[in-house]
Amino acid sequence: MDFSYTKEQEVLKNVVREFCDKEVAPRAAEFDRTAEFDYSIIEKLSKQGLLGVIMPKEYGGMGGSHVDQAIICEEIGRDSLTAMVATNMAWYMAYECLVVGTEENKKRWIRYLFDGKKMGAHAGTEADAGTDAASVRTWAKLEGDEWVINGTKWFVSNLGKADFYFITLRTADSRYGGISTILVEKDTPGMTIGRRVDLISNRAISNGELIFENCRVPRENLIGRLNKGFLDMMVLYDVIRLYLAIGAVGIARGALEESLKFAQERRQFGKPVGEFQMIRAMLADMATEIDAARLMTYRALDMEEKGLRHTKETSMAKLYASEIADRVTYKAVQIHGGYGLTMEFPVQRYWRDARLCSIGEGTSEIQRLIIAAELLKSQNIVLDSALD
């Protein structure tokens, strides 16, 4: 068992840190304040060859490992979870196409989707379909060689910023066996942006409503197999959730690093607050939990590299990393005392941003259901019904 980074990974970590010190850290508070992300960071990241390194070389990627990709995500997440989420949106959809797409999909779409400039977005949630993702009511019906889409999507991240949207919708009248994914490019007639939502967490990721009224797209825009979209989504989540987990680790690490600095500088009762046992206990717990979350995430990523099934390990890592990010950032605010409540210190932003992790890409509750189902080998309320 080898827990150490390779020589290349050590250098990669340093280089990504250098990139973030220059491009991400100085801008992170501004993204939050203005609720606007600077998408030029994506092009810069791409120029350094650091965008979607796990994509195969034949599709314009680096053919890198999941651990390499995780190193990049953790460093970006350390400074701004928003920046990590946003930059990942520039390769996630191409990765989705790679994992669940047909050969035709791959040939037609991957290079187009993954060019270091274009942004993607995933529209799954609806007003009445969140954790119960199979209850979507947006429909696509085939008319000749075109899909005609009707319905309304909600909580669409990257709304109005994305160049294309992957829409999870219904293509047959079967709960789990009637879900598919269809790609809609921006400015397609019939797709309009509705109400926008103002967030407290990751504010710079534009979010809101996407409305479809007789929106027509070519038949070839179906990504993956017809009516197997729900299963495909579960396969994809086994990997994608790990990148939110490592983002949670990154933001927790940021909170710890800021707290260590503060605990050594801030003096009370004639000594730095880091000399007091209760503060030290918090710092020790924070560091321990971060380490455990990182190792759990790497373990699951390593299983993916080895082609092993890791649904349980992914859910465990996602659950644990999200929840420790919440605890660690809470403690960081506590250690900062009154300063922790000011907009002048970054820990309040980490605290707000970390809150996304236990809700997005499957809540902590759904992760627990998945873990328990894997443990009990009993009927998985979600997956087994999908297999019917």
């Binding site: 020589k7 290349e8 250098v11 280089v15 350094q48 390194v53």
Partner: protein
């Protein structure tokens, strides 16, 4: 033109143990000394223009290899690491002697580049001492460097002025941080770099005797290391702008600050 760049690994952040007065190295990640990155960048731009081969030379423990890989990813061709327990505790003179011994063993080195100083000790000794052992001219604090045939033309940054000097090759140049913006290696550069050679040499490989290296070869004796204490004094000046400015001017003059 074959170029050598001397590289030192320094702690990522400089923290001093206030009771012992020593630099804390444990648990702090090692990185390339910032000025040395500028020296590597200069070497790579010169190579792009004039061709040749760039060799990084360093001395230190095994983990310096990671630091050297970063330099190789920036565009150097090979690296030599002097890695030997007997070399530990070297002062600047013993370090320079060991580095110069390596450089003499390399083929036809025309230019040796160093950072002006290191982030962890900042003596600015090593560059000039290496030049001494190699018996070649040295130009320090360089902000601009041109190769003109068999000589260099270098702009030096002095306290209040610049000075342009010429020297014949081979020569040693130390560079200041402002000379350029070091490039950030790409993902592919990093993986290409790990395929390049890093030679690890011990003192014996270099024919260095024990009393020439490490603590034994170091004439410097450190009697005390301490963190300078920063003192702040605040004085409020009141009155009209004329009163304040003349009183400020007098204060600064009386303290010998202007």
């Amino acid at each position: 033109m074959n170029i050598v760049v001397c590289v030192k690994q320094v702690p990522q952040e400089i923290r001093i143990n206030k009771t012992k007065g020593t630099l804390i190295r444990d648990g702090i990640k090692g990185v390339i000394n910032p000025c040395d990155k500028n020296a590597i960048e200069l070497a790579v731009t010169l190579k792009e223009k004039h061709g040749g081969k760039i060799t990084l030379v360093s001395m230190g423990p095994k983990d310096v290899e990671n630091t050297l890989t970063h330099g190789l990813a920036m565009g150097a061709d090979q690296a030599v690491l002097i890695c030997d327990r007997v070399c530990a505790g070297a002062d600047t003179l013993a370090t320079a002697f060991a580095l110069a011994t390596v450089i003499k063993k390399l083929d036809d080195v025309q230019l040796v580049l160093c950072g002006k100083e290191t982030a962890d000790s900042g003596t600015q000794h090593v560059g000039p001492q290496v030049a001494h052992y190699l018996g070649i001219p040295q130009v320090t604090y360089v902000v601009n460097l041109l190769i003109e045939g068999s000589k260099i033309r270098a702009k030096r940054q002095l306290k209040d002025e610049y000075e342009t000097v010429e020297a014949g090759l081979p020569a040693l140049v130390t560079v200041v941080k402002g000379i350029n913006e070091p490039r950030m290696p790409t993902y592919l550069d990093i993986y290409e770099a790990s395929k390049k050679d890093t030679h690890k040499w011990c003192a014996e490989d270099l024919g260095l005797k024990e009393d020439e290296v490490g603590i034994q070869g170091s004439p410097t004796r450190i009697t005390k290391v301490f963190a300078p204490e920063a003192k702040r004094e605040c004085k409020m000046l009141r009155g009209s702008i004329e009163d304040i400015s003349s009183s400020l001017a007098n204060d600064l003059k009386s303290k010998g600050l202007v």
